[in-house]
């Protein structure tokens, strides 16, 4: 009964009706089942990750696969594996990390700049063709990007950008339908009064956008930063197409090469894999609300 009192499900029980021993017993059983499920599912997420950390911390000559499996590190703490993965001359993950951060930084700057401007045009300004173009914007979200990869590659190849970060960064400065949509939806929830007042005071459209609207949009811009970071950090296909030398590679390509080309030491492979996961996980813990809220709002507005 105490357990049932502690935890209240979807709608609080109405004590006036049906509050008897059988009801309480059923609720307690239900809650116990829910906790058991949640615990089992959480372990299913955590145990493979724990196994990975265990392997990453093992010395070279220790068997990786054991019976029974070791879910969490207990015996070996070979922290040097991370250093080796970061500075390995054949696959320098430190270099890869810096490269990826440069690309992602460029993408973030480009996305914030272009998408907020365009979103303002769609959210607030009246201009001919706006509604038609907004429909076009929605449709372009449904086009699989991979369809464009060949002509885009040929275009960037002709311009001489093959083997540089530019094909990965520059398109971000020309807007992305998804982020424009996201920011535009947010801008429409901001009350107009402030903008009108600023207009009356003689601000031009850009000043209103820059001084009034943009500061109010910080929450949605943060969501965009999180999404762009994750997308860029985790992207494999783009860098695979455009980058051709080891000193330009990203973390994702480094991992792919490590897995597919050689027969690597599994402990170093898992150490490198953790290096790839850690920034995303850190971001997750610092910006969980933004991230979850962002994904949720996309689902509701889409």
């Amino acid at each position: 009964v105490a357990a049932a009192d502690d935890a209240v499900t979807e709608t609080p029980p109405r004590r006036t009706i049906g509050w008897n021993a059988r009801y309480a017993l059923r609720r307690a059983g239900f809650i116990g089942l829910a906790y058991a499920l949640l615990l089992a599912l959480s372990l299913m997420i955590l145990m493979p990750l724990g196994w990975m950390i265990t392997v990453a911390l093992k010395p070279d000559n220790v068997p990786v696969f054991t019976l029974p499996p070791q879910w969490f590190p207990s015996e070996y703490w070979e922290w040097g594996n991370f250093g080796r993965a970061l500075t390995d001359p054949a696959r320098p993950f430190l270099r890869y990390t810096v490269n990826t951060l440069i690309i992602v930084g460029g993408e973030i700057a480009g996305t914030l700049f272009s998408c907020s401007l365009v979103a303002y045009a769609f959210a607030r300004l009246r201009w001919r063709g706006r509604d038609l173009l907004f429909n076009l914007l929605i449709i372009t979200m449904l086009i699989p990007w991979q369809v464009l990869m060949i002509p885009q590659f040929l275009m960037f190849f002709k311009v001489g950008w093959y083997g540089t970060f530019l094909p990965l960064i520059v398109p971000a400065f020309f807007g992305n339908a998804f982020f424009i949509f996201l920011i535009r939806q947010y801008m429409r929830t901001i009350p107009r009064e402030l903008e009108l007042a600023a207009r009356v005071d003689g601000c031009n459209h850009f000043q209103v956008f820059w001084h009034i609207v943009l500061p109010l949009c910080k929450p949605v811009l943060a969501v965009c930063v999180v999404f762009v970071f994750l997308g860029g950090w985790n992207d494999l296909l783009g860098p695979l197409i455009y980058l051709d030398s080891n000193d330009k590679f990203t973390v994702a390509i480094g991992m792919a090469n490590m897995v597919t080309r050689a027969d690597p030491n599994l402990n170093l492979l898992m150490a490198a894999n953790l290096i790839m996961m850690i920034p995303a996980v850190l971001l997750y813990f610092f910006a969980q609300e933004k991230l979850i809220g962002g994904i949720a709002s996309v689902g509701l507005k889409g």
């Binding site: 272009s114 401007l117 449904l142 002509p151 885009q152 398109p171 897995v259």
Partner: protein, 321 residues
């Protein structure tokens, strides 16, 4: 004020329209200019990075261009070649098998998990944090990890299966028939990211409806069937679209788990991987463009079909009054 012309039906249409449109003020003209200016990054980007490439890829798909020699016009040759192309057929098979397996399974699992995470229990924040975690993990990193977990002889999955009495567990990625289910299994591990959207959908349902059902004496299951599910259908439509488009686009996982050749006997030769192979490994950019166009057309047909049927099963609150 604006429809001065509406009584003069006999007037030419242009004159009438001109009369109806109020003359733009200076401020309106300025706003018009600002609108174009603000939108110009996207307008330029759409022309250069979207419409240009789409037209180019259509033209390319009729040629045999390979970057080295000059392109030669071949008409529908590339499209005809697909009919007898073993890799093309295999890639269609793999992608369809994956889509049919993964899309409904991920939806069911996502709704089930979201329902569980929507209970008001102590410590739920912690469970949500753990179960949503795969949403941020890269497909590459997860695939690298799961390649080890799915190792047929030493991997943990098969160790567990043997421990519960299955003596001859599947060889997963090394087996032509189990490779795609293995990828789906891996996706199920990350189903928490999909559950975020369903959870938002669930929390968007007005609590009054549940209270009303409770007063009417409806059981949990009936409440779910008659209130939760209908009100969740707009979310379902969204995730169905995202899921189907995503299934057509699988690349990272296939590349990591099966390599560029697409795994054992092409068991992981997903459509985009095959397209990438033809273009960037074999240098057949014309043929790869044709493959891209087939993907566009198929995706478009599926999306239109989903929207067409959606009016029958998607419930919009406003319609109900």
């Amino acid at each position: 004020v604006g429809d001065l012309g509406s009584h003069h039906v006999t007037e030419p249409a242009t004159a009438r329209r001109r009369a109806r449109r109020p003359r733009k003020t200076k401020a309106a003209r300025r706003e018009e200019r600002a609108g174009f200016l603000f939108a110009s990054p996207w307008l330029i980007g759409t022309l250069v990075f979207l419409i240009g490439p789409i037209v180019a890829s259509m033209l390319l798909s009729f040629t045999n261009w390979n970057l080295i020699s000059d392109a030669k016009w071949e008409g529908l040759e590339n499209y005809r070649d697909m009919v007898g192309d073993r890799n093309f057929r295999q890639s269609i098979k793999v992608t369809l098998f994956y889509a049919i397996l993964a899309v409904p399974l991920f939806q069911l699992a996502g709704i089930a998990l979201a329902t569980l995470l929507n209970l008001r229990l102590r410590g739920m924040y912690l469970f949500r944090t753990i179960l949503f975690l795969p949403a941020v993990l890269s497909g590459v990193a997860v695939a690298v990890l799961w390649a080890q977990l799915l190792n047929p002889d030493l991997g943990i999955i098969n160790q567990v299966l043997r421990a519960i009495g299955i003596d001859d567990p599947p060889r997963w990625l090394q087996s032509p028939s189990w490779a795609v289910p293995a990828v789906v299994l891996m996706g199920l591990w990350g189903v928490g990211s999909g559950a975020i959207i369903y959870l938002a959908g669930l929390q968007n349902i007005p609590p009054q409806l549940y209270q009303a059902a409770k007063i009417d004496g409806a059981r949990t299951w009936r409440t779910f069937w008659h209130i939760t599910l209908p009100l969740l259908t707009p979310t379902l439509l969204f995730t169905l679209l995202i899921g189907v488009i995503g299934a057509f686009q699988v690349f990272d996982v296939a590349y990591i788990l099966g390599g560029s050749r697409g795994g054992t006997r092409g068991a992981l030769l997903f459509y985009v991987l095959n397209m990438w192979n033809e273009g960037f490994r074999n240098g057949r950019f014309g043929y790869a463009s044709a493959l891209a166009w087939v993907l566009v057309v198929v995706a478009a047909i599926v999306i239109v079909l989903i929207f067409r049927t959606s009016s029958r099963w998607v419930y919009y609150e406003s319609e109900g009054g």
